[in-house]
């Protein structure tokens, strides 16, 4: 019997509850919805999916919008942002963060426009702008949170009412995103990129460089490929990268076979991301990974020498910071554990 609508409803209630309550309330609510449905279903109607769906919709309309039910389960005023304003709060936070990102990108673009060497200007102003961006993000996040926390406490109950019950339609409940599901497309693309990188860097290192169509030293215009990776890169970093890439490919194969994230695969992913961060750190602080010796003419070499290492360093630092953040997030996912804690409960409820 299809009970997917109930699953979606229970999920929407659960996501508004504190984590320690969530699994238990979700299990009980699901059980109650199934009991109510069973109490309503006429003998012989269990095969009629349209009739059952109509019963489910009627039951959910009686229970009320998920935010309202979640609010009933909440202890009074033990939260900073309560369920009645939480959805609006998320929209405002996303809108403010988006606006700040847009403004910073525009400012960065304007900085480049006013310079004769835009790439150098970008490299030198990126760090400053990133600091400003983070500062703005944090302060606006704090201001929005504080504003909503005050609104939560000073506005009368009727203001910001959760959702008009008459307008609420259970059929509009969003689909459940399974956090343990492996994104097959992402895994396949990542594996393909890693295989290409392995082959290119190990068997065709001469292909790794800057490619362009043009003329050098008055010769006719043609395709040029100038290798720029330094010998140090191949001796000091490539063995580490090879090991990381091979292990990552192995992990992706396991994930594709299993179809779901498990604690062990999450841990392996976390360790590999941490190793990636370590290699990036070595690249940032260690010997240079680029060399412009093969670049001709001299003027082009000097130009590239003044831009590329700086740009690469900025990119490596950004990669390092995001890798550290990613490692911490993955570590959280490892120890967060399963959310269901009720014996015999599964989201797919038993048949009537």
């Amino acid at each position: 019997m299809p009970v997917e609508l109930f699953d979606r409803y229970v999920h929407q209630v659960g996501r508004r509850l504190p984590r320690k309550l969530r699994a238990d309330v979700e299990a009980e609510l699901h059980s109650l919805l199934m009991d109510t449905l069973q109490g309503r279903t006429v003998e012989g109607e269990t095969e009629n999916e349209a009739a059952i769906e109509a019963d489910q919709i009627a039951i959910l309309e009686e229970f009320g919008p998920p935010a309202k039910v979640a609010a009933q389960y909440q202890p009074p005023r033990r939260y900073v942002i309560g369920p009645r304003v939480f959805d609006i709060y998320l929209i405002v936070v996303a809108a403010v963060a988006g606006s700040i990102t847009l403004v910073c990108l525009l400012l960065l673009a304007l900085t480049m426009l006013g310079e004769t060497e835009p790439l150098s200007a970008l490299a030198s102003s990126f760090g400053d702008m990133f600091g400003v961006y983070l500062g703005w993000l944090l302060s606006s996040f704090g201001s929005v949170t504080l504003t909503f926390a005050i609104l939560e406490r000073v506005l009368p109950e009727a203001t910001f009412d959760i959702e008009d019950e008459e307008e609420w339609d259970p059929r509009t409940l969003p689909e459940i995103e399974d956090p343990t599901r492996v994104e097959v497309g992402g895994c396949v693309i990542e594996t393909s990129v890693l295989v290409i990188a392995l082959i290119a860097f190990n068997f065709f290192p001469q292909w790794v460089g800057i490619g362009f169509v043009g003329s050098i030293d008055d010769s006719p215009a043609r395709w040029h490929l100038i290798p720029i990776m330094s010998p140090t890169f191949f001796t000091a970093y490539l063995p580490l990268l090879n090991a990381l890439w091979i292990l990552s490919i192995g992990l992706n194969v396991v994930l594709l076979r299993q179809g779901q994230w498990q604690r062990l695969t999450r841990l392996a992913d976390c360790v590999l991301t941490a190793c990636g961060a370590f290699i990036l750190y070595r690249m940032v602080t260690g010997p240079p990974i680029l060399t412009m010796q093969a670049v001709t003419p001299e003027s082009l070499r000097q130009t590239l020498d003044s831009i590329l290492p700086t740009l690469l360093k900025v990119a490596l630092v950004i990669g390092l910071v995001s890798s550290i953040g990613e490692t911490l997030h993955k570590l959280y996912l490892v120890f967060r554990g399963p959310s269901r804690a009720v014996p015999g409960f599964s989201n797919q409820a038993a048949d009537l």
């Binding site: 299990a27 009980e28 059980s31 109650l32 009991d35 039910v69 009933q72 015999g344 409960f345």
Partner: protein, 117 residues
């Protein structure tokens, strides 16, 4: 009936809800069966009100609960705990006192209205 009167009636019923619920939990019930039991006896409670109320009463130490996996699906059963039984007795006495007082008050009003005094 206008909205404010309806609101007052809801408030009146709401005040008796805890007593009604406790009175039916001397034997263990799960949420849906309790709702049915109350409805059969004329107490209609919104489901979104009843189920969270059971949890609050459990948190206050009046009810005990446990999951049972017998039957078609896991169900959480609630029953009065020791404190709950004592509280139920106290509330029953209070209710009888309140009921007597109100009966007297309302009876006096009715007599006033009929001009017998």
């Amino acid at each position: 009936m206008d909205d404010s009167t309806q609101h007052l009636i809801s408030e009146l019923w709401r005040g008796t809800l805890v007593l009604a619920v406790l009175s039916q939990l001397e034997e263990a019930q799960y949420g849906y069966s309790l709702g049915q039991l109350l409805a059969e006896q004329g107490v209609e409670v919104e489901q979104s009100t009843l189920y969270p109320l059971l949890r609050r009463l459990e948190k206050q130490g009046l009810l005990e609960s446990k999951w049972s996996v017998k039957g078609p699906r896991p169900r959480r059963y609630y029953v009065l705990g020791k404190t709950g039984q004592e509280t139920l007795q106290t509330l029953k006495q209070e209710w009888r006192t309140l009921s007597d007082v109100l009966d007297r008050l309302l009876g006096k009003d009715e007599k006033d209205a009929s001009g017998t005094l």
